[in-house]
């Protein structure tokens, strides 16, 4: 991919445009910027924008659509016998073509169809790229000439440039909306396709989860059952364990830090607790699988309990550790924001410090704390790596924390990692699970924000 030189060439052209525009404006004004409507630099930016924007737009469009286009053209060039192949095999064939064209072998000797298609693929790629180079460069030069020609003394260059910048600002601010739309659309479309194969009631209330669908009709024992209740139960179990670890520890740490700790202790401990939040989850997963799970299994067998080596307890415990800083820092904030007059009133009535905290400060801070706990719960439900590495794979409907359970996120990962065919309910099920996950976390967040806003005591 020779993209980088092209981008650099376009950037160079754009900066040439800047200097040409600036120079031309100055010469027209007889060397003094006082005769111009805007500062000379704005005329430079004016030409640079004319030069750069169309060319880069073309480049972006090419980057976005070239793979699809080339793929469709190569597919059409395939002989009818190959085109009649089922979707999955066609996908494999296309992969082979791409690999072969890229000079990598595919493990087996390529067939003639593949060689021909690969040649066509390579030629399409080269001509397409050559066309892109010629087109984008000439567009840049044309834009440069056009912009430069439009410059005259009274041109309101600053207004035009500022308008362009503002359009850019507005477009960037809509990206968040488009991301949300993208998430909802992609989850919804694939889920609808999934629900055409599996009824939503069976998915939401079925008790049996075994997503291995039969590849051959005569295969035994892989009918594919998509009852997601065991996954929901597993997710809840692990999140519950995590919350029972994180809520007391986080809350008491926050109380101690906000009310008791001398400022020197606070200055050391607070950042240390925040380190816990900065550690990547894959590290927690490794810690859970390598240290915590074997430790629990061994101590369980000493006590005469049978603890699975992928027990829900290990994953939940480590997830709880991960969540501690969320709860402690959110609670710390709301506890410190409770006004001092309340505490002093309570002390004045003769209450001890702990009585004040339990009966005055915590009730006043409760909405914020509940909001924080809900946010932490949504994080626990959506957490992926810890459970992928430390929890089980097999669906198991149980409330026993010593057994292995699986979660929604684990199943999404196992269904989508590896070979995928986009038609099988097995792959689409991941999107349905994702939709459930998205909805649940969204509701939790909205409720959390609502609780914080609605029940917050106003003290000023």
């Amino acid at each position: 991919m020779q993209l980088l030189p092209l981008v650099i060439a376009l950037l160079v052209l754009t900066s040439i445009g800047y200097y040409l525009g600036r120079g031309r404006a100055l010469t027209m004004a007889g060397g003094s910027s006082r005769n111009l409507h805007s500062l000379p630099g704005y005329y430079g930016f004016y030409v640079a924008l004319w030069c750069g924007i169309p060319a880069f737009l073309v480049l972006a469009a090419w980057l976005a659509f070239e793979p699809t286009l080339v793929r469709a053209l190569v597919m059409n060039s395939l002989p009818p016998s190959a085109q009649a192949l089922p979707e999955g095999e066609l996908r494999l064939l296309m992969n082979e073509v791409r690999q072969f064209a890229g000079g990598r072998s595919y493990g087996r000797e390529p067939s003639e169809i593949v060689i021909a298609a690969a040649e066509y693929y390579t030629s399409l790629k080269t001509t397409g790229f050559a066309a892109l180079i010629v087109f984008s460069l000439s567009l840049a030069v044309a834009g440069l000439a056009w912009g430069r020609k439009r410059i005259h003394q009274q041109l309101r260059a600053r207004v035009s440039v500022e308008r362009a910048v503002k359009v850019f600002l507005i477009i960037s601010s809509t990206i968040a909306v488009f991301t949300t739309i993208g998430i909802v659309m992609s989850l919804l479309f694939e889920s609808i396709r999934f629900f055409q194969a599996v009824p939503p009631m069976e998915f939401l209330f079925g008790l049996n989860w075994s997503p291995q669908t039969a590849i051959r009709a005569d295969q035994v024992g892989s009918s594919g059952a998509f009852g997601a209740v065991p996954l929901f139960a597993g997710t809840l179990l692990i999140s519950l364990i995590a919350m029972t670890v994180a809520v007391p520890v986080g809350l008491f740490s926050a109380i101690y830090m906000a009310e008791y700790a001398p400022s020197r202790v606070r200055a050391v401990v607070k950042p240390l607790l925040e380190v816990l939040a900065g550690i990547p989850t894959v590290v927690y997963g490794f810690f859970a699988a390598l240290t915590v799970a074997p430790f629990l299994r061994d101590s369980g067998s000493v006590l005469g309990l049978s603890v699975a080596s992928e027990s829900a307890l290990a994953a939940g415990l480590v997830m709880g550790i991960m969540i501690i800083p969320f709860i402690s820092s959110l609670s710390d904030d709301v506890i410190t924001s409770v006004p001092h007059s309340l505490r002093q009133g309570s002390y004045g009535l003769g209450a001890t410090k702990s009585e004040t905290i339990r009966q005055v400060v915590i009730p006043a801070a409760l909405p914020g704390i509940v909001g924080g706990v809900l946010l932490a719960a949504s994080r626990a439900i959506g957490e992926t790596m810890i459970v992928v590495m430390a929890a089980g794979l097999a669906a198991n409907l149980t409330a026993n924390p010593f057994e292995a359970v699986t979660t929604v996120t684990v199943q999404i990962v196992t269904l989508l990692v590896g070979d995928q065919e986009f038609d099988s309910p097995k792959t689409l099920a991941a999107f349905a699970l994702g939709l459930v996950l998205f909805c649940v976390t969204l509701v939790l967040n909205v409720v959390a924000l609502h609780v914080v806003r609605k029940y917050r005591e106003k003290y000023d």
Binding site: S172, S173, A176, T179, T180, G278, S378, V413, V417
Partner: protein, 437 residues
């Protein structure tokens, strides 16, 4: 005042009452102390876990930075490398180099003659020795026919014995036999087997053999993904923050954008992976496993964090600055770009670095878009298939070999090192440039 009058009227009760009050006070103070102890205990619990995590990872991982190497006298046998004597590059590339190293081991231990003995002896040497010797010959064909002192990687099992992870006494059914242990002891006594700094860990891509596996491929994959993320998320995030904070009218559309940003900040990362899979891979047909796509997904993930931090930084700039600039005739955009933005920059950069640190440690969305492949080649650009550092950790954590535990921990140390550096830079930026108005 009933209590007072009672005390006066019934002085005999006073002692008992005082005792009761004292008892209650003691109880209340005990409750106070318990409450306080609970607070201290929870902090200690949290910090213990933190300490435990670090000691486990560092304790398991630091040994991976050293690696066992065998120092052998290897005779570059012309009959083996280039029987025709043509020095044809094709012949040089395909010769059986590992046989040369095996021969020199054979010379050291002539007693190993049976097939089984020789197999065990060959297992002392890493298969990577082949490539090592081939590179030497290709770099300098003159050495064919000479004897050279060569440092070659030992196999992972030998490495584990040298580092003490496998016991010096053979176990029935263990990975290392008594015979091999004797050889290892002999080689160590002769100073032919020793630990050296493990450069390969930093310069090689992934491998099925623990002793040959390195993190460079994953680091480069992460680097390209981060490059895409920075290039997109920083300008877009700052532009959004400027628009919302300085220009946007207060209306429903702006509210909608704000609600969206706040909600996106709390969407589970794996959902972003699903989005990347459906939109970038399925709809736009971008290459699978490419850091480009990883970078795009991480951009979408880190945008909310950057926007929220940038808005806070912009909001902290006092209105007097804006009024002064406007009074001097600056246009609205000039006010923002020339005065407000530079003053808010330290805060914006701090937020961006923290968001990037989060993105660097993110794994789950990258699994969705296929950055989990076994990639040996070091990616040369954002379009090449690659893994990322956290994904490499995930892959190695799954590998059964004992030696990969050490590699995984070492890769984690490297990742945590990167994150620590980024966070420290953010803290320094904040401390040094942040202005309180």
């Amino acid at each position: 005042m009933t209590e007072m009058s009672q005390t006066v009227t019934a002085p005999t009760d006073a002692a008992a009452r005082k005792a009761r009050q004292d008892a209650r006070l003691r109880k209340r103070h005990a409750a106070e102390r318990r409450f306080r102890a609970l607070g201290i205990a929870s902090i200690i619990i949290a910090l213990t876990f933190l300490g435990l995590l670090f000691t486990t990872i560092i304790g398991k991982g630091y040994t991976a930075f050293m690696q066992s190497h065998l120092t052998l006298e290897v005779y570059f046998d012309p009959a083996e490398i280039d029987p025709a004597g043509t020095r044809d590059p094709q012949a040089l590339a395909t010769a059986n180099y590992i046989a040369l190293a095996r021969q020199s081991l054979q010379d050291l231990f002539p007693e190993a003659t049976s097939r089984n003995d020789r197999r065990q002896m060959n297992a002392l040497l890493s298969v990577g020795a082949d490539l090592e010797l081939r590179r030497m010959v290709e770099a300098n064909p003159e050495i064919i026919g000479t004897t050279q002192r060569v440092v070659l990687p030992a196999s992972a099992d030998v490495d584990m014995v040298v580092k003490g992870h496998i016991g010096r006494d053979a176990v029935e059914g263990g990975r290392v036999s008594q015979q091999q242990l004797d050889w290892i002891a002999h080689l160590e006594a002769q100073d032919m087997l020793a630990l050296q700094f493990n450069t390969r860990f930093f310069t090689a891509g992934d491998s099925r053999e623990p002793e040959l596996a390195g993190i460079k491929g994953a680091v480069m994959g992460s680097f390209y993904a981060m490059l895409v993320t920075v290039a997109l998320s920083f300008p877009l995030g700052v532009a959004t923050a400027i628009y919302l904070e300085e220009f946007a009218p207060k209306n429903r559309w702006t509210d909608l954008i704000e609600v969206n940003i706040n909600n996106l900040a709390a969407v589970p990362s794996i959902v972003f992976g699903l989005l990347g899979l459906a939109v970038f891979l399925q709809f736009f047909n971008l290459p699978r496993s490419a850091p480009l796509v990883g970078g795009l997904v991480l951009t979408l993930m880190s945008l909310p964090t950057i926007i929220i931090a940038s808005r806070a930084a912009l909001k902290a700039v006092p209105p007097s600055i804006r009024q002064a600039a406007t009074g001097l005739g600056a246009s609205k955009l000039q006010v923002v770009l020339h005065h407000v933005l530079p003053l808010a920059m330290p805060g914006i950069l701090t937020g961006t670095i923290i968001a990037l640190a989060q993105a660097l440690g993110e794994t789950a969305p990258l699994l969705m878009i296929g950055m989990v492949a076994f990639v040996v080649d070091i990616p040369g650009g954002p379009f090449d298939p690659a893994t990322a550092l956290p994904v490499q950790i995930f892959l190695w954590a799954d590998a059964p070999e004992r030696a990969f535990v050490e590699r995984t921990s070492a890769a984690i140390i490297v990742l945590l090192g990167f994150l620590a550096v980024m966070n420290i830079v953010a803290i320094i930026l904040r401390k040094k440039f942040e202005r309180r108005w």
